[in-house]
Amino acid sequence: MGRKIKVLVAKPGLDGHDRGAKVVARALRDAGMEVVYTGLRQTPEQIVNAAIQEDVDVIGLSCLSGAHNTLFPKIMKLLKEKNADDIMVIAGGIIPPDDHPGLKEIGIAKIFTPGTSTQDIIQFIKENVKT
């Protein structure tokens, strides 16, 4: 592989629980990826703009507040509008199983639920990202 995989770890919405996002960011870095973390309270527009500006291969969304069904579709729609839907989007947090099919339908590549090993996330990215 020519260059490092670049990942934007993002916290959309008002949820402040970022332990998982930070642990994942650190694990991805340790696995040799370049990682940008947005910090808290990002709007879908801010996340999509940052992803395009930073030219990332992957966006990792983290949400535990239950707002995923509102925020994730907005992000996917904006990516499409800006012709950036080649960026792979993965998600994690408290996302009930019933919501998974709908989120996969709008193009989220994988949903990682609590208890996921960071190694599984790393492996999934390495196997599925287009660089």
Partner: protein, 558 residues
């Protein structure tokens, strides 16, 4: 505490036992782990004897329940007198729905209310704000104005229940709304009992629902201390919270160190603002986490009580024993719950709740088994409440005070936790206090380091989580999850619109102007906020004014 000749003999005998009996067995069969440690990386020995606590002085270090240094409990009779307050953190959707849940919980024997607000409310936005989209009513109840608060407490006599409100940055506004509801019910302020969390420092460290920068935030808190010391004598003005610090990944030692560090900062600010320590310190309360390592948790609570008592007496010169009593609420650890085999969480919660009870908690929230998957259902929250009731009424552990006191291990661990906490507090002191240590990112880094270390230990199977990295089943049974109706956001926004059309706008404008003037000056902010709340100025409007005057906090990225 012991006959020193005896202790010497015990030490020698223990050494001999280790060298002969133990060594032989370990050489042949090994032990389960190379090294045994607690969550705080304190080494756990194979056996504890009087030798490990030989230099303790019973009267000085432990004393009696209800007496300095309160190691064995803050009250003389503890849970023999009455059980802790059983307080389930609850709230979702609209005020109507949450009101129903509260009445259900009270009917089921809950003894105090605990209000969960949604994120827009916690961050000072009305439900119609752009940033509130998708968040209204999700993690708690949506409160835009006094009108919602009136519905939330409809039919609940505020002189009979005590209410804990998990609210921080806009705590002053929610407290004023609560006072206004009381006034309408004809309940005088001196009868109100309960707690506002009101702990902004841990928001910057761990939880993220801050609004204003630290300096004005701390001023609001001091204003609340002052106002309540005169008007709401039974109200806990702050709940200095380690819970979220622990959830963010801190160890037990870090939880106590950073929580008490925050406590020190609040006390110092209030004293600097001219308050007498004994005027406000008796109303300070604490909030801790109960994690899985049962005995370390018990030791943690005991150590925290002793450290705080000493700090208040020796450092701040408190005279009133009530100022030295660390009273605390406990919540079982949300982060310990697993989405895998969720029924196992009932057992986890039981052990954690037991730790809190053995540690002498004043109030307790037990998590529901489905919380790694969504909001609790009526069934799961009832089981969580029953867990407390079974410990209280069937287990017998509360029939004597501090039953683990005197355990060689628990006492040794209590001492070690105190020692490690004091090292942290010294370090924070050298950095110029907690606000400075937070600004420098020190506290956040320490917590993140622990969180990452734990995650790696789990992945390396050095920490076992049943059902997650061992004892896995192939197919998980699906359980019912509570869903919040997305339509309620629309209804809440509609209600807000109607409120704004029907209120006296001139009164609102004048009240908001008074809030602005108080914020710009040095007058206590609570009276003008109370007036604004009463004429139905919204939470978003009041916070908006304060945002303009105080600015907003920008977190540094690390």
């Amino acid at each position: 505490m012991f006959d020193l000749d005896q202790v010497k003999k015990i030490s020698e005998k223990k050494e001999e036992w280790n060298q002969t009996k133990v060594k032989k067995v370990v050489e042949r069969f090994g032990e389960r782990k190379e090294k045994f440690t607690t969550s705080s990386d304190i080494e756990v020995k194979n056996l504890y004897t009087p030798a490990e606590i030989a230099d303790m002085n019973y009267l000085k270090d432990l004393g009696f329940p209800g007496e300095f240094p309160f190691t064995r409990g803050v009250y003389p009779t503890m849970h023999r007198g009455r059980t802790w307050t059983m307080r389930q953190y609850a709230g979702f959707g609209t005020a109507e729905e949450s009101n129903k849940r509260y009445k259900y919980l009270l009917e089921q024997g809950q003894t105090g209310l605990s209000v969960a607000f949604d994120l827009p409310t916690q961050i000072g936005y009305d439900s119609d704000h752009d940033l509130a989209q998708g968040e209204v009513g999700k993690v708690g109840v949506a409160i835009d104005s006094l009108a919602d608060m009136e519905v939330l407490f409809d039919g609940i006599p505020l002189d009979k229940v005590s209410t804990s409100m998990t609210i921080n940055a806009p705590a002053a506004i929610l407290l004023c709304m609560y006072m206004a509801v009381a006034e309408k019910q004809g309940v005088s302020f001196d009868k109100l009992s309960g707690t506002i969390q009101n702990d902004i420092l841990k928001e910057y460290i761990a939880r993220g629902t801050y609004i204003f920068p630290p300096t004005p935030s701390l001023r609001i808190i001091t204003d609340i201390f002052e106002f309540c010391s005169k008007n709401l004598p039974r109200w806990n003005t702050i709940s200095i919270s380690g819970y979220h610090i622990r959830e963010a990944g801190a160890t037990a030692v870090q939880e106590v160190a950073f929580t008490l560090g925050n406590g020190i900062e609040y006390v110092e600010r209030a004293i600097k603002a001219g308050l007498d320590v004994d005027d406000f310190a008796p109303r300070l309360s604490f909030f801790f986490n109960a994690q899985m390592n049962l005995l370390e948790e018990v030791a943690k609570f005991r150590a925290a009580r002793r450290i705080w008592a000493k700090l208040m007496k020796e450092r701040f010169g408190a005279k009133n024993p009530k100022s030295m009593m660390l009273r605390f609420h406990t919540q079982t650890a949300g982060s310990a719950l697993t989405a895998q085999q969720p029924m196992n969480n009932i057992i986890r919660v039981t052990l954690q709740a037991l730790a809190a009870v053995l540690g002498g908690t004043q109030s307790l929230h037990t998590n529901s088994f489905d919380e790694a998957l969504g909001l609790p259902t009526e069934e799961s929250v009832r089981i969580a409440l029953r867990t407390q009731q079974i410990i209280a009424h069937e287990s017998g552990v509360i029939d004597t005070i501090d039953p683990l006191g005197g355990s060689y291990y628990v006492e040794a661990l209590t001492n070690q936790i105190e020692e490690e906490v004091m090292k942290y507090l010294k370090k924070i002191e050298e950095m110029g206090g907690m606000a400075k240590a937070i600004e420098a990112g020190f506290v956040q880094n320490e917590i993140q380091e622990s969180a990452y270390k734990y995650q790696r230990a789990v992945e390396a199977q050095k920490e076992i989580i049943v059902g997650v990295n061992q004892f896995i089943v192939d197919s998980e049974e699906e359980i019912e999850i509570l869903k919040v109706d997305p339509e309620l956001e629309v209804r809440q926004i509609q209600k807000l619109k109607e409120l704004k059309n029907n209120r006296d706008q001139a009164k609102v404008d004048a009240a908001l102007k008074a809030v602005r003037e108080a914020a710009q000056g040095t007058d206590n902010l609570i009276p003008p906020i109370y007036e604004a709340v009463k004429v139905y100025a919204t939470l978003g409007e009041i916070c908006g004014v304060l945002r303009e005057v105080f600015g907003e906090y920008q977190a540094a990225l690390i």
